[in-house]
């Protein structure tokens, strides 16, 4: 009897270990299969040319991914620039200022926002943000803009990642011990001083982690961005130019025109690129986080 129980325990343990490893293997399997699918184009072309050329003419066999890479970064960057202050200030308010009732109302709504399907954000962006930019915002800065721009993509994406950022940063702020904020307040610091000098300082690594997570999400967000960013292959010179991020490229073209030589492989290359960007990004951020934590040794 006893032995049976011990055996069961062991089996359960190794079974779960196996499943855990299997989950991690997905990452490897996806990475590898993308790599092998992208291999033909990497063999046919110089890798550096693929990454740094802006020349995209699949008919002629020219594949320069720079416009897509830059578009992805621009849109994500704008999204994070807009979303970060919004989310942090909202979280600060909910954590340090809001009454219980306000919090009880806000938090489910924030969760709800993150549950809305991307396509709805896309439609909203097309109906609201794009005309707003075309008619109201862009004319102040440039002569003409269709509204389908980097900015539109950034705004829609910002709205999409705000709920995620709020819920993570709120969690980060909540993990700060009450004794610490009390220590600051009891010295006669105002709430705002406490927020600035203690709460934000204590949560800097958490905020960075949240930002990275949101950015990774932003890099990969496809549908909503695709609907508002114009999808024109060019190097965007301003936020009022149309752009064409990597996920949109794949979504728009996969399954079509695959008769062209190297085209499928090129699309797979862009998927692989996206994959690498996200993995690299996570790696780098983990490294910087470790550095920050080591420097301050916050416990």
């Amino acid at each position: 009897m006893r032995r049976l129980r011990a055996a069961k325990d062991k089996i359960a343990r190794y079974l779960m270990l196996g499943i855990a490893i299997f989950t991690i293997l997905f990452l490897l399997v996806i990475g590898l299969s993308l790599f092998f699918k992208a291999l033909p184009i990497m063999r046919a072309k110089n890798l550096w040319v693929l990454l740094s050329s802006a020349n995209w003419k699949p008919f002629k066999g020219d594949f320069g991914f720079l416009p897509f890479i830059l578009s992805t970064f621009y849109v994500s960057l704008i999204a994070i620039i807009i979303a970060l202050p919004f989310s942090i200030l909202t979280s600060i308010y909910l954590n340090s200022y809001a009454s219980k009732n306000v919090r009880r109302f806000f938090e489910p709504v924030v969760d709800l926002l993150s549950g809305i399907p991307p396509i709805i954000y896309g439609v909203w962006g097309t109906l609201t943000i794009v005309p707003l930019i075309a008619n109201k915002i862009a004319p102040r800065f440039v002569e003409f803009s269709t509204g389908y721009t980097v900015l539109a993509g950034g705004i829609v994406l910002a709205v999409m990642i705000i709920p995620l950022l709020i819920s993570i940063t709120l969690e980060v702020f909540r993990s700060i011990p009450k004794e610490m904020t009390d220590a600051s307040l009891s010295m006669g610091a105002t709430k705002w001083q406490t927020v600035k000098k203690v709460i934000l300082r204590k949560s800097i690594s958490g905020i960075i982690a949240a930002t990275v997570l949101a950015l990774s999400r932003a890099f990969g967000e496809t549908m909503a961005v695709l609907m508002v960013c114009g999808n024109i292959t060019q190097l965007p010179h301003s936020i009022f130019d149309a752009c064409y991020p990597l996920p949109a490229l794949i979504a728009n073209n996969y399954g079509e025109m695959l008769s062209m030589p190297n085209y499928e492989s090129a699309l797979m290359f862009s998927a692989f690129l996206l994959f690498i960007i996200v993995v690299l990004f996570n790696g780098i951020s983990r490294f910087t986080l470790n550095q920050i934590e080591r420097r301050y040794q916050f416990s």
């Binding site: 009454s99 219980k100 011990p177 004794e179 610490m180 009390d182 220590a183 600051s184 307040l185 009891s186 010295m187 006669g188 610091a189 105002t190 001083q193 000098k197 203690v198 300082r201 204590k202 301050y296 040794q297 916050f298 416990s299």
Partner: protein, 280 residues
Amino acid sequence: MISTNQFLAKSDHNSFIGMNEPIILKKLVTNQSIRIENLDVYIENQHILKDMNLTIPEKSITCIIGPSGCGKSTFLKTLNRMHDESPEVKISGKVFVDDENIYGPHVNVIDTRKKMGLLAQRPCPLPMSIFENVAYGPRIHGIKKRKAVNQTVIQYLQYVGLWDEVRDRVRTSATRLSIGQQQRLCLARGLAIEPEYILGDEATSALDPLSTKKIEELFVKLKEKYTIILVTHTLRQAKRIADHIIFMYLGKIIEAGPTEEFFNNPKKQLTRDYLSGSFS
């Protein structure tokens, strides 16, 4: 001027508090003192502190003792208005600090807190360097000049005997200090806001005996300049350093008086039971 100690020695010590007795408080009030009148505190409709009346003598150590849950810490928090942060706490009554009711209508809570240096149960350094921890108070209260801040920091680190131990690493994180050092740092940080009162909420309960001794010695040294109010769980500590004892039970002040009298000749049965360890 008659000192509070002398006064207490001369007068019937029951006038020191007056829950049941008629209160003769005014005589005790000097220019720097805390006087509490009809203080009631409710937390989520539970009556935590019940009709407290007392005066805390200046420039001495007053220890509040009593079993867990008797309201000691709640009481301490009413003195620096930290209950303001919890909306579920209701307070009625008057708390006079330097003859001003801190629960009055025009009182600035920041001024009140600035008068009270708080030493919490567990040392809680802020997420910054040793130097910045002590500089925090002066800086939030508007002292910008680097020289003045430096001076204050060094002065108070020296005062708590930490300067020689940390002078080479004042710019490193405060969390790397030992827990005893951290508590002395927190004391220095509290002193740096230049308070008039020091509140200690079981300030040595997390410390080893040696660190406890250091903190106690500091309290004794500090009472020359400050009025000190300590919540403590250890009767021996109260005996060692207190000038006055307040014994609380279930939100009421049961007995209070000068330390020797309190321990040698307790008036109430409840006090005797507590001191003999029948309950804790």
